[in-house]
Structures are given as C-alpha cells and as structure tokens.
C-alpha cells in the first residue's frame, strides 16, 4: 500500500475507530436485546438477530449495542426483543419477524419513536447476575 500522509492517517483512524468501540466500554445510545432461549430460537430469533445486525450495518450504527438474553418467560409470544434507549425505560416487543424488527430499528432505535403496535410493555423484570 502507498505510504500514508498525515491526512491519510487521520482518515484511516476514523475508519477503524468503530471497530474497537465495542471493547472500550464507550457510550451507547441504545441497547437491543434479542431473547434467545430455546423457545426464542425455535420461534425464529435467529432471523430477528440477522435482520437487526443487517440494520446496524446498513446505518453504520456502532453506537447501538446488540446483545442476547435467555428466555423472557413469555414463550408463547416469541420471538421477542427489548429496546432500551439510554435514560429511557426498556420496551419489550413481541411476535416479531424480520420486517417488524427492521421497522423497530428504524423508528424506535434510530428515530426514538416507540412502535406501539408491536410493543408489549414498558419496563423490565429486575435482572442481576
């Protein structure tokens, strides 16, 4: 590759910066949890995850934390996902499919508006390790 100039190096840094954000414990604007217990996986949670990650990539939304959790207890309404914007109460979405997840990502995670037609409830059960 050609030798870098000062500008190239700065550009390079902008490009690669996002790849280590995940490791730095940095600031996130939102956390999306896909419930991936056995029931969730059987109901198609993998497709939800794929759709979600595709969205993250599409919008280059590296400040969105994508995580998984176990069964949320409401197995009949799987696949489920929880969206938590920083400083706001988490919102649980139920009976999802890939298209619905896409809409939730674009409207709620990116836009900040809750997609009420798919939402189950605000808030979350208490969790601790």
């Amino acid at each position: 590759m050609p030798k870098l100039t000062l500008k190239d190096l700065q550009k390079k840094r902008e490009e690669v910066k996002k790849s280590v954000i995940l490791r730095e414990g940095g600031d996130y604007k939102a956390k999306v949890t896909v419930h991936m217990g056995t029931c969730g996986i059987a109901a198609g949670a993998r497709k939800i995850m794929d759709s979600l990650l595709a969205e993250v990539e599409k919008f280059d939304a590296r400040d969105v934390l994508v995580t998984t959790s176990g069964c949320a207890g409401l197995c009949s309404r799987e696949p489920m996902a929880t969206v938590e914007l920083v400083g706001k109460a988490p919102v649980k979405y139920v009976d999802l499919d890939a298209e619905k997840m896409k809409k939730i990502f674009e409207e709620h995670v990116q836009g900040g508006n809750i997609v009420t037609e798919y939402a189950l409830a605000y808030g979350s059960e208490k969790t601790s390790y």
Binding site: M1, P2, K3, L4, T5, L6, L9, Q10, K12, R13, V16, K17, K18, S19, V20, L22, R23, E24, G25, Y28, T33, V34, H35, M36, G37, I41, R46, M49, L53, V56, E57, D60, R62, L65, V66, T67, T68, S69, G70, Y129
Partner: protein, 601 residues
C-alpha cells in the same frame, strides 16, 4: 466491515499462551461457526491482561464479562450459553477469596480497580498484531502532532515538563537525557529501546512489548525526532520469542504504512528501527554492555563517562530508554505534560508497572500510580499472601534491589522513598516472601544469580560477589561466625563503591537490606545453628511425634517407605522414629506425612 455484537478478547500474553490460549481460540472459533455466530461474534487475541494468576483469561466485550481459568472443554457450553443465549456463565467467573458470589465484570474486580493505565493503556483492547487497532486507539496521533506542529526542542521541553523519569531502574529524568543527546555533537545519532529484562520474577517489559509493540515504536520515533536520530534498535532477549515476533511484525506494518522509514508522513523526517536479539545475558541490560553487544562485541561494560548520550553506539551519541519509558511517551505528547504530571508524587510522576510474583495470591502485572504504598499493591491489588500466611518481606527491584520488611508496607512507591529504605525501584519486579522463606537464603539466591551473571571484567564484582556468596552459603549450612557479618558488610560496601557497572554496584543490595532488616535471622543461623523459616534444611532436625503417629495416622508407614536413607524405623500400625545419625535432612518425611506427626525444628 461486519458489525459484530460481541468481541471476545482472549489474552495472548506468554502466561496465558502457555495455558493454551491459542487452542482456546481455535475452540471458540469452531463453536462460533457451529452456532452460526461467525458474523456476530469476533475473537481477538490481545496482549497480557495482567491477571496472570487467573489465566487463561477471556473478556467478553462490550459487557466486560471476565472469564478465568478456561479449558478447551469449557468452550462449547460457554459459547452456547453466553454468546447464543445471552446468559453469562457464573462458574467460569472470578470469585474473590472468602466470598461465594462471583464477580461478573472485570472492572469490578479489586485487582483492576486501583490500576491506572498509561503504559498499558491498550492492553486487552487491541490486537498487538494489528496496526489498525492501535491507530483506532489514537495510535500514531502523537507522532502526527509532533511532525506537524512541534519542533524537536518543543518535544524535549514537553517531556521535561511532564517529569517522566527512566523506568528501567535509575530514574534519570528522560527529558534531560534527550536534551543531552540532542546537544551532543555527531552527525549520526541513535536511539535504543532496552527490552533486555532479566531479573528473576520480572516480566513488565516483556508484557508491554507483547501487548502493544506500536506504542514503543511510536515513542522511539518521537524520541528520535527530538534528539535528531535516524536509526533505532530494540534490544530484546531471545528468551522472549513472542515479544521478538510481535516487534518484528509491528515494524513491518509501520514500514508499510510509512510510519517508519524515509519521509515519515511526508514530513521529511527519516527513521528506521531494527530488532537486535540478545543472548539472555543479564549484564547486557546495562547500557554500555548493550552497546557493545549491538556492535557485535562481547557484552561487557565500559567505564562511564563518557556516557552513551555523548559517545555511545559506534562512538555516536546514543539515547537508551527502557520499554516502559518509551511506552509513556506517546501518551504524554498526546494528552500533555500537565495531565501526566498530575499523576503520582512530587518527585515521581505518572505510573509504574510492576510484576508481582512469589508468595502472592493474584500474581500478575499491574500498573499503579506512583505513591501507592507497597501494602496497597500487595494486599489491595494483588490479593495478599498465598494461603493466608504471614507476610515477611518483599524484594523490590530484583537482584539489584532490596528486601523490605513488614514495617515498610506503608512506604509509598516512588524513586526516593525506596532508595532511602535501601531498595530501589529497579525495573519493577516485586517478589513477595512469606514466613516460610529464609531471608539469608533469599539473599544467597539472588547473589548466586548476580555472581553467575557477572561478566568478570572488574575484580570487585567477579571476586567480591563470589566471596560474599561463599560466606552466605556457609551461614545457610550452619558454619558461619559472627565475624562473617562484619566481613559481609565490608565486602558489600567495597563492591558497591568500586564495581565498574550497575550490576556490581547494586549486587550487594539484597545482602545489605537483609542484614539491616533481618539481622536476627542471620544470628539464628550462626549462634543457634537454626533456620527460623526451616528453609535451610541442613539446620533442621526432624522428629516424629510418636503418639500422634499412632493416634492420628495409625502408623501409616508412608514416611518410612519414602525415606531414601533408611533413616526411619517402624512398621505399619506402630509408632515410627527417625534415626538422627542416618537422617540426611531431605524433609521428604515432613512433606509426605498427612497427619502432621513429623515435626521440624
């Protein structure tokens, strides 16, 4: 670039690698593929995490979940539970001694809480073999800054203002050294990175090179710009193959990016670095010996002055700094001397990396602000003494340092306080001794090391250390006299004052400090012919508590069968007894008796 949701940071420091970190990575990758998570989960090999006692270590980011002591067979369960189903697995987490609930997150573990990372700022976050990871963490931004905005004199002024002092042992102000090298006359100038770490129990420099080789290269390039050098060498010992490999790799990457070589970042500044592999000779950590070794000569010291900054490598001005010193430089340039000088004490600024080893619970690598006390490092950071035994001493500064007793646990760690106590900062090795360690034996052990490593060029070091070792050996065998103590002291001072180089000047330190703080142990060896810690076995007497042998052990006969000298009489079911005339004092009976019936005195 795929957007991963999890980054699995696998420690690939030498400690974890020897605990099969590479195999663990393979297992992770295999399970991740099996669960079709390869587009979601990324595994990254990182430099030393520092908590070596808990290795192999894996950190799951972004949550920061800390997993320890993993084996290959744990991986399928871990991948399915945590990475797929999102349930962090408690049984692989760290549980502090005396507690029952594990601590899931790395930053909540006490080992990490008091640490302040400057030299090790990228440990565990970047892949040391990926220059892009380093760049992403503001790597080479300090170099950009000096090449575009700062004159060499400004760089020197900034380093001087920061108060940075050499981390290799002496504590010489780095900025001043650079200034001397800049002012020295000579067309060709050199910079050298001293990575020839050889103290028993020390592994700071190795870990920094393994975790973040680019920070050293960036620091060296900045230093070279400041003093006007165009060529640099990293002198690293061959016993550190991983460090050698990663440094070579880093240099190749930097050259490809044009961050080393001609016309760096189009600034017109040229600088190139080579790796020199040392043969593992302790004296080559001394700067004049190192220069001789790079020149292809025998690694022996020369009298100073002239100092290397005036007349060094091939007669040219040469600036040598230690690995950790170089690693601090980019951070200081980027964040400013004001930020740096706020950390630490009045005379010792910044942080210091220590490798904590010996009879300690959480052995490993820590970086703490200067001024933290020895007790805080040993108890709060490194978890205290192994098996909850009693602390006896800490040897700070390796074979050149001193043994400090419990009274010194409140001593703040800075250059002056340690020197006053008879020890020295050294490069940062802390070896902890408990009640089972004999201080005379400890002094003998380290003196034996320096005697072996003495190059033999000057008489005080060659003959003097051998004479001291002879006396110490006699004392540990119960053949010492009280006059020996005076002689030891005389010899020690003579060697300190007259030896040619730092190796000889500091070799008597362990003897002097143990004489100062643990004189009673020497006297016990000489007058009572006893070793209070029972470590000098020749002075021990082993006996069997016959009553206990029968009541507790039912005359189990294990000691008799293990005695290689047929010194134990008795038969199964009956009391046993040691024939003192035949006993070779090997201590095997004491070790094998499960009923504490064998007594040692």
């Amino acid at each position: 670039m795929a957007s991963y949701r999890l980054n699995i940071m696998i420690c690939a420091g030498t400690g974890c690698v020897s605990n099969r970190a590479f195999q663990i990575r393979e297992a992770f990758d295999k399970e991740i593929r099996k669960n079709s998570l390869e587009k979601e989960v990324l595994t990254v090999m990182t430099g030393c995490n520092g908590f070596c006692a808990a290795g192999p270590i894996v950190i799951v980011q972004p949550e920061g979940i800390f997993y320890q002591k993993l084996t290959v067979k744990d991986i399928p369960f871990l991948v399915e539970e945590h990475f797929l189903k999102g349930r962090p697995v408690k049984k692989f987490m760290y549980t502090p001694p005396k507690e029952t609930e594990p601590i899931p997150k790395m930053n909540d573990i006490s080992f990490f809480q008091k640490q302040v990372l400057i030299a090790l700022r990228n440990k565990g976050i970047i892949d040391p073999e990926a220059i892009d990871d380093y760049i992403a963490r503001d790597g080479y931004a300090a170099l950009s800054k000096i090449l575009s905005k700062m004159k060499p004199q400004d760089v020197i002024a900034e380093i001087k203002k920061s108060g940075l002092r050499g981390r290799g042992g002496g504590g010489f102000p780095t900025g001043l050294k650079w200034e001397l090298a800049r002012k020295a006359e000579g067309e060709q100038k050199y910079v050298i990175c001293n990575a020839d770490e050889g103290d028993p129990g020390a592994f700071m420099d190795r870990s920094i090179v393994e975790a973040d080789p680019h920070t050293i290269l960036e620091g060296m390039t900045i230093g070279a710009y400041a003093i006007g050098a165009s060529k640099g060498f990293v002198y690293v010992r061959s016993e550190y193959p991983l460090a050698v490999e990663r440094m070579h790799n880093a240099i190749a990457q930097s050259k490809e990016y044009g961050l080393l070589g001609d016309n760096i970042l189009e600034s017109g500044f040229n600088f190139d670095v080579d790796v020199i592999q040392g043969a593992g000779v302790f004296v080559c950590g001394e700067e004049t010996s190192m220069i001789a070794s790079i020149e292809g000569k025998i690694g022996e010291p020369k009298p100073r002055p002239p100092y290397p900054v005036e007349k060094g490598l091939w007669g040219s001005p040469t600036n040598i700094n230690n690995v950790e010193t170089w690693a601090n430089v980019p951070a200081i340039i980027l964040r400013g001397s004001d930020w740096f000088s706020k950390i630490g004490t009045k005379t010792s600024k910044g942080t210091k990396v220590f490798s904590v080893a010996g009879k300690i619970k959480d052995a490993g690598l820590v970086e703490v602000p200067m001024g933290l006390t020895l007790g805080e490092i040993i108890y709060d950071v490194a978890g205290g003494i192994h098996s909850d035994k009693k602390f006896k001493a800490v040897l700070i500064g390796g074979p050149s340092g001193g043994c400090l007793p419990a009274d010194c646990l409140g001593l703040p760690v800075d250059y002056e306080s340690l020197t006053k106590a008879g020890a020295m900062m050294g490069s940062g090795g802390l070896v902890v001794a408990d009640e089972d360690n004999c201080m005379v034996e400890m002094a003998r052990y380290f003196l034996n090391f320096t005697k072996d490593e003495s190059c033999g060029k000057c008489t005080p070091c060659r003959e003097g250390n051998a004479a001291m070792l002879d006396i110490l050996t006699r004392i540990t065998q119960g053949e010492g006299t009280m006059e020996d103590l005076d002689l030891l002291e005389d010899l020690a001072h003579a060697i300190k004052d007259t030896a040619l180089c730092g190796l000889g000047n500091t070799a008597p330190n362990p003897v002097l400090t143990t004489l100062r703080y643990f004189r009673d142990e020497y006297i016990a060896h000489i007058k009572d012919k006893k070793c209070p810690a029972h470590e000098c076995r020749q002075l021990n007497t082993y006996t069997i508590d016959e009553e206990r042998c029968v009541s507790e052990g039912h005359g189990c006969d294990v000691c008799r069968r293990n005695c290689a000298y047929d010194a134990i009489m008795g038969e199964k079911g009956k009391a046993h007894r040691i024939n003192q005339d035949k006993c070779a004092k090997c201590g095997v009976c004491y070790e094998v008796c499960k009923f504490a019936a064998v007594k040692v005195d």
